[in-house]
């Protein structure tokens, strides 16, 4: 059962990013390979983009935020390509697609009190005309997120705890009434017991304010708690995508299996599973085949020869692995066509 066929809100169309370094001798490194997916206009979704360091997830986040430009392909917002936008459209994009960064301390300019980062966008986007209005909006947003204005405003960043800082950042994003929030590892630098608050806050933004969330992380456990769908990235390529319940509890791609199997369950009676793949490369990776072949315990000859396409193993799952070549290849490039619609996921859990 698919959702309404509305125009997508945010679309990544065949984007890839290659970084070039060096002045005389150029070195290319492919951070992200050709990837497409969309964030629907409605219903608002929470999608996890998971991967380890070097997987390309941060690059993908930056591309979607328009902070860097794709080497190939386009990013479209509300049907308009970022590159072709005029000033007004660009400004709207900037406002409606917000972010929360990983490091709650670095996100603040140490010279100013935290109020600065909250009031600046209100002036810049014309959401308030005087200081009183600004204060009113700020206080209201903080309280909605369970923060007390007298405990947070008027302080410098180093005077707040990590959890508070991150929540103030969420408040900043919320104040602008965005449509999409790209959260890049928002809880990885927060203590375990405070993570729940921030994750619940993100869920609240999604349910109550209809904001779609792109949750970028290496921690599958927290991703599982709040996301409906997931994209698993490995070395710049999508290894597996689809309904997060399925992907995590019945992983298909050998890399996903390795990832899921390495999660330390907080239960001493659930030890780590048997190691399914090598942790480090045992033979040299080839440029032509599957990029996981050198670590894969079930690699076949074909895996070394050509890169596997995405196979549609299920209505809500796609896996880039020749083991599943019995399934049809995905017709559409758009990974989100393998997603489970958010409304359905919510009623299921």
């Amino acid at each position: 059962m698919t959702g309404p066929q509305a125009a997508p809100l945010l679309e990544a169309r065949a984007i890839s990013k290659t970084f070039v370094s060096g002045t005389l001798v150029k070195r290319r490194s492919v951070a992200l390979e050709r990837t497409s997916f969309t964030v629907a206009e409605s219903p608002p979704s929470i999608t996890a983009i998971a991967g380890e360091s070097g997987s390309g997830k941060t690059t993908l986040a930056r591309l979607l935020l328009g902070l860097i430009e794709p080497t190939e392909g386009t990013i479209l917002y509300k049907g308009r390509s970022l590159a072709n936008m005029n000033k007004v459209e660009r400004r709207l994009f900037r406002r409606e697609v917000q972010t929360i960064f990983q490091d709650p301390f670095e996100s603040y300019n140490p010279f100013y009190k935290v109020d600065h980062v909250l009031t600046t966008p209100l002036s810049e986007y014309g959401l308030a005309s005087n200081a009183d209005e600004k204060r009113e909006i700020v206080v209201r947003t903080l309280e909605e997120l369970g923060l007390r204005a007298e405990e947070t405003l008027g302080r410098y960043p180093h005077q707040l705890s990590g959890g508070q800082r991150q929540r103030v950042m969420v408040a900043r994003a919320l104040m602008l009434r965005p449509r999409v929030i790209v959260a890049d590892e928002p809880v990885s630098m927060i203590d375990a017991s405070l993570r729940a608050t921030i994750l619940e806050t993100l869920r609240l933004l999604n349910r109550r304010h209809g904001i779609s969330i792109l949750y970028i992380t290496h921690d599958l456990t927290t991703a599982y708690q709040i996301a409906d769908n997931i994209l698993v990235l490995y070395r710049g390529r999508v290894a597996e995508a689809g309904d997060i319940d399925r992907v995590i509890n019945q992983p298909e791609h050998p890399y996903t299996k390795l990832l899921v199997g390495s999660i330390p369950q907080p239960d001493p009676d659930l030890p780590w599973g048997a190691a399914t793949s090598a942790v480090t490369a045992s033979q040299r990776a080839t440029d032509t085949g599957c990029n996981f072949a050198d670590r894969c315990s079930v690699a076949m000859d074909v895996c070394l020869e050509s890169p596997p396409p995405l196979f549609r193993t299920n209505q809500h799952r796609a896996t880039r692995c020749f083991v599943y070549r019995g399934s049809p290849v995905m017709e559409s490039d758009d990974l989100s066509s393998a997603f489970v619609p958010s409304g359905d996921a919510a009623t299921r859990s």
Binding site: Q164, L199, H218, T221, Y224, L259, S262, I263, D269
Partner: protein, 337 residues
Amino acid sequence: MTTRTEQHSSPPASAGAAVLEVEDLRVHYFTRRGAARAVDGVSFSLKPGERLALVGESGSGKTTTGLALIGQIKPPGKVVSGRVLIEGEDILAMSDEERRTRLLSTVAMVPQGAMNSLNPVIRVRDQVLDGLKDHGEKFSREEGAARVSDLFRQVGLPPAAASAYPHELSGGMKQRVTIAIAISMNPSVIIADEPTSALDVVVQRQVVTTLKAVQERIGAAAILIGHDMGLMAQFADRVAIMYGGRLVEVGLVRDIFHEPLHPYTRLLISSLPNTLKKRRLEAIPGLPPSLINPPPGCVFHPRCPRVFDRCRGEEPASLSLARDRRVACHLHDGTQH
């Protein structure tokens, strides 16, 4: 200085005697705004070969405790009182020189952020051997190379890695080098302070599994300091929970995870996400306590869902409820509540 390699080839004679005993440790940091009581009366013991997890969030005092265990508290920090007995000797009462000889040979540390603890301009094999040389060991070039090879094999590193510089190794490999250094003299106690904090989950598993394996092989006791409860569940035999500079609960790993007693432990366990079931995550309301002006009575009382009058005025003593089980909470003092 005699080598210690002989001492652990057979199982420890008195398995009952503790290899590490911490008695009422108090470490304060003296700042301009007052004394921050980072560690405020912590006592626990460690049996030979045992794995203890020291768990706490930021500001709980776990890292300070770890540093105190190897006698590395520097100003403005100061050990205000308490003893740390390693193999019966009080490390805190020793002179700097005496302590230095114990470091690595008796008690070794695997520090946080291996990227920073390895010297970037020295090959890793030399860094391993330097530790041994500092303790007066002498060996020829071939013997040294063989030692390093053997250690690397134990931690799962390829022998070729010995001649590499730290920046040529991945994060996980660097961390395993620090483990190799830590076990090079077969210490009785290994202290690992957040050894996997900057590592990906796949590498993390590998590092922790390696740590477990080498620790078992040399018969050392280990303390894993951190805040990732999942890792602790996989690694430890016993778990000690710290909050606000105090130990609130200690127990066997199964008991702590399946039947937590202290309200903080309970809240902590229930705030942990897992991949088996989606549910509403419980947060712990409030903020961590100030270490300069800790709340009177029980340090957790302002955030405790089961607080009552006695908690606000009287600090709960750490009571032994059963063998290997201690809780510092008025709810569990044996009387009815």
